[in-house]
Subunit: 276 residues, 2 copies
């Protein structure tokens, strides 16, 4: 009658093993929520405080209460216990209720936690660099949503549908042609000894590793600018690298037809991040 | 042991009575899907062909197969049987699967149908006109998604959260300041005997009643232009009206502090639509 001790649910909804979410949830109806994608190593979620800080900030901007970080941590540890490497995806929605788009006065957010296998990333990327392309899909700009890891991700789905396996990542520009990020990564371009990363005040996702890179650059006294970057600037950069919570830092070896070497600043930041 | 014949599930997921959707569904994770909001009167969904045509066009643009319209109709009729007036909401997502944003090669879309009570709209609106405001929330522009009734609706949630009950609808401008639509309605402005409705090639939802109004205007030989409309143009229009599948046509009585009368062209179109 008792469940096997080896049985480990892959999904928790509001802390309970489940495989489904209410069909009335505003996350489904409107994308009314946020998510975090968290690396788990040795059964422990990495960069936990950074993820929780971003989640809290996002909930504040969307106007519903953030889940208790301690509760989330307990659930994350239970869900990922015994897994050497895994990916934890935490979705938080405004829950059900309200009238149409109008949010409920007393939202009861839904917390969905999924534990997934670590992605099978080719070893060549970290060693030799990523092959990158530019996407035709452009990002619309809206400062109210910019930077948030919210659930309105159709632009990214359409961008990722542009190619199959021939590239490791696709770069996204906004409707004005400024380079913003990769589909699942933030972008850094090194030029004349300084790091440049796109301004995300109009669109894009402010990744937690992006924040960490900015801190590391300051500690290492490497100049870093947040700026609007043109495609020409990116293509002519001395070094390019991509970041996210799972990959850490990926050097870029090629953008479209143009080869890039793995440069010294990229290597320094890869090393600095590994120390984390 | 048998279920009551009066028992009527309010939700069908892929044709089966259910109250939940897979926690892995891409509709929840990315807003990767579309929806239709359909008026049901006398147990029969209205404007069915128009809704199905828009849904098919949307699925084609997002790149996954549309559900069979005949299957949907059967389910809609079963779900809404015996209800004099109701609202049918049909959500179609790309289903589960794929790797992150990357869509699965053979998507198995999810079909979620919800039957809800007819909204309790004040009778004064149709008789005396709607009270309307301008929202501070702006719409980002993306031609790839423009016109679609997709599930990425955070902008609309934020816009609707701007006010409570003091207004009947809020008007949305894009980031350039052009007036696009209401949060749940399309907008028409009458000036010097001609109807103007915002161009939706950059953002906004192309409502089925909007399409019907354009046809009716042609039949009635009333000039109609699709154009970029400024806020000034809207505020100084001779007549304004709003449309959607549930309300049909709402005349606008007031925009912010400015009063508008219910004019002759609005009345003609209200009458023409009622004949449908």
């Amino acid at each position: 009658m008792s469940e096997s001790v080896n049985e480990r649910p892959g999904i928790l909804v509001d802390g309970l093993a489940a495989d489904a979410v209410a069909a009335t949830d505003r996350g489904l109806h409107f994308g009314d929520g946020l998510f975090e994608t968290i690396a788990v190593t040795g059964g422990r979620p990495r960069r936990w405080e950074r993820h929780m800080a971003r989640l809290r900030a996002g909930c504040a901007r969307l106007g519903f209460p953030a889940p208790d970080a301690g509760v989330c941590l307990g659930e994350a540890q239970a869900l990922c216990a015994g897994r050497d490497r895994a990916v934890l995806k935490l979705i938080v929605t405004r829950g059900s209720g309200g009238r149409g788009y109008r949010p409920p006065r007393d939202p009861r957010p839904t917390r969905i936690m999924l534990c997934r296998d670590w992605p099978d990333t080719p070893a060549r990327i970290r060693a030799g660099g990523a092959q990158v392309r530019f996407c035709r899909t452009r990002l619309g700009r809206n400062p109210l949503l910019a930077g948030l890891k919210h659930l309105n991700r159709l632009e990214y789905v359409l961008a990722r549908a542009e190619w199959g396996d021939a590239f490791d990542e696709g770069l996204l520009c906004d409707d004005l042609g400024h380079v913003v990020e990769g589909t699942v990564t933030n972008l850094f371009a090194v030029s004349q000894g300084a790091i440049h990363t796109p301004d995300l005040s109009q669109c894009g996702v402010a990744g937690v590793v992006r924040g960490e890179i900015m801190e590391r650059a300051e500690q290492l006294a490497i100049p870093l600018q947040v700026a609007q970057l043109t495609r020409d600037f990116v293509e002519q950069a001395d070094e390019l690298f991509l970041t996210n919570s799972l990959i850490g830092v990926w050097p870029v070896a090629r953008v479209e037809q143009r080869e890039h070497g793995i440069g010294p600043i990229t290597r320094r930041l890869m090393a600095a991040l590994t120390d984390d």
